[in-house]
């Protein structure tokens, strides 16, 4: 797509690009150099501050348990929020008003409240109405808060995905005698999920990051919360933030890489089905629209 926005660079444009690149590179380099110098001024490169991360205790006592909790909460929330989001997204488009309106209210309501507060209320709910042991209660509360919020956002993403599909898909499904439920499950939802995969993935990244809210008021020892205990021991605030930030980046990078691998596979299979149906041209047109036109519902 980006190549459509400008002509293939000729000799002059190429020179200009090279000059711009060099200027940009030099500026970036200067900023980085200045930053490194400043850090040095303040003694932030001191080995004593970084050394703890080479010891196994720092990892086994603080970071790995924290990372484990982050992963556990994120994975479970994803697994629950994805189907729930699909259900609510579909429910919002129901022909029955008594399904559509409550689903809409639920989705709008949970999208409007900060996740931190949802977790807080969930924790309180579990105390009052269940006998979940206190050890695992923070985990349950964190997952509940994340699921409620992210399922609502995912519901909107799924809905936008389904709405972005060409009408012909539904009409064709009805024409071959599929019922509403079959059309949704067999025709619309798979295409919508494939089309909205980028938006869905960025929401999954949000889930991973939002697990960090569990440590703010509940006793959930996630990665970010474990960091504060670590920094209290080693007195390396800046360094611990840097290491934890890198861990989050790596974690989310793995997640997005996996998703784009999955996206590639799903897209290929779309084309495959098209060939079997023997409607190559039409399918190609639709594929273009499906891939491109879906407005992505991204949130932070």
């Amino acid at each position: 797509m980006s190549s459509v926005l400008y002509d293939t660079p000729g000799p002059r444009a190429r020179t200009r690009n090279v000059v711009l690149s060099v200027v940009f590179f030099v500026l970036l380099g200067l900023v980085l150099w200045w930053a490194a110098m400043k850090l040095d001024d303040k003694g932030q490169w001191a080995w004593a501050l970084w050394k703890p991360f080479t010891t196994s205790e720092a990892w086994t006592t603080y970071l790995l348990p924290g990372l484990g909790n982050t992963l556990k909460a994120a994975a479970l929330s994803m697994v629950i929020a994805l189907p729930l989001g699909a259900i609510f997204g579909i429910a919002r488009m129901s022909d029955h008003r008594w399904v559509r309106i409550p689903a809409g209210v639920v989705v709008e309501f949970f999208r409007a409240i900060p996740v931190l507060l949802l977790m807080l209320f969930a924790g309180e709910f579990y105390v009052r109405s269940t006998d979940i042991p206190s050890d695992s209660r923070p985990l349950y509360a964190v997952i509940t808060g994340l699921v409620l919020y992210n399922a609502s956002v995912l519901a909107e993403v799924v809905r936008a995905g389904i709405l972005s599909l060409p009408k012909g898909q539904t009409e064709a499904a009805y024409a071959i005698g599929l019922r509403k439920g079959q059309t949704m499950a067999g025709i619309l939802l798979p295409q919508a999920v494939t089309a909205m995969l980028p938006a869905i993935v960025s929401q999954l990244v949000v889930i991973v990051k939002d697990t960090a809210l569990g440590g703010v008021m509940l006793q959930f020892t996630d990665l970010l919360n474990a960091r504060s205990t670590l920094a209290a021991n080693y007195a390396n605030v800046i360094q611990s933030f840097a290491v934890v930030a890198v861990l989050y980046i790596v974690l989310n990078f793995l997640l997005t890489s996996f998703a784009s691998w999955l996206e590639g596979r799903l897209r290929r299979s779309t084309r495959g089905t098209g060939a079997v149906l023997g409607a190559g041209t039409v399918e190609d047109l639709n594929a273009g629209e499906v891939g491109g036109s879906a407005p992505a519902g991204k949130t932070g």
């Binding site: 980006s2 590179f25 309501f109 991204k298």
Partner: protein
């Protein structure tokens, strides 16, 4: 029942939340558009920078970014945002951090909007001899922006709630006041409910208004 509200400036705190949201919203829209421009630009290094920026910033929890503005930018690099008073400095740094973070999401939303603009539009623009920046500014972005009002509304709602993270560097917004009240009054859930209601009041109309606007302004094709 709500006697714990006495003596606290809840409205004032939410006013700060609104200010944070507005300043960061405008800032991240501008920076986000610039980033999106970089990501589709003809200069490879700018494209690389845009991509790297978005992929790194989006993957870090906001708390770390906000704390970095204060502990890193202000303390180590001496970027005090022209204010020695921590109240003002904290606010400005928080806006800076929120912009840096939210812009990554704005950029991605706009990029998906650029994808919805039919190829013919850009081709026609080039055919009449417009340069890259003219094509982007005059033809593609105006159409792209109108088609992503929905996603941008989501970003704005998320931003409104994300301002609570500014509490980490002590900006006197809603979440900071909430912490203070919980510390003093020992009534976590009741206080939490009041603040949850406040956020519903802030975000619901935003979502509805922008949703309506998005429908009105959508490019009919």
């Amino acid at each position: 029942m709500f006697d714990f509200l006495e003596g606290y400036d809840v409205l004032g705190a939410f006013w700060t939340t609104v200010q944070l949201t507005v300043f960061s919203g405008v800032g991240s829209l501008v920076w986000g558009i610039l980033l999106a421009g970089m990501r589709v630009s003809p200069v490879p290094l700018m494209r690389g920078f845009g991509t790297a920026y978005v992929n790194i910033v989006r993957n870090i929890p906001l708390t770390i970014i906000i704390l970095f503005t204060s502990l890193g930018l202000a303390d180590i690099f001496g970027v005090t945002m022209g204010a020695e008073d921590f109240k003002i400095q904290g606010f400005r740094l928080a806006v800076l951090g929120l912009i840096a973070y939210t812009a990554a999401f704005v950029c991605e939303a706009i990029r998906s909007g650029i994808n919805t603009v039919p190829l013919g539009q850009a081709e026609a623009a080039r055919a009449i001899g417009l340069s890259f920046s003219q094509t982007l500014r005059l033809i593609v972005l105006p159409q792209a922006l109108r088609s992503v009002i929905g996603p941008l509304a989501n970003v704005l709602i998320a931003l409104t709630k994300n301002t609570t993270v500014a509490a980490a560097i002590g900006v006197a917004e809603a979440a900071t006041l909430m912490k203070t009240m919980i510390e003093n009054e020992a009534q976590t859930v009741a206080i939490g409910a009041v603040f949850a209601l406040g956020f519903v009041v802030l975000t619901l109309p935003t979502g509805l208004l922008l949703g309506w606007l998005g429908k009105r302004l959508a490019v009919k094709r």
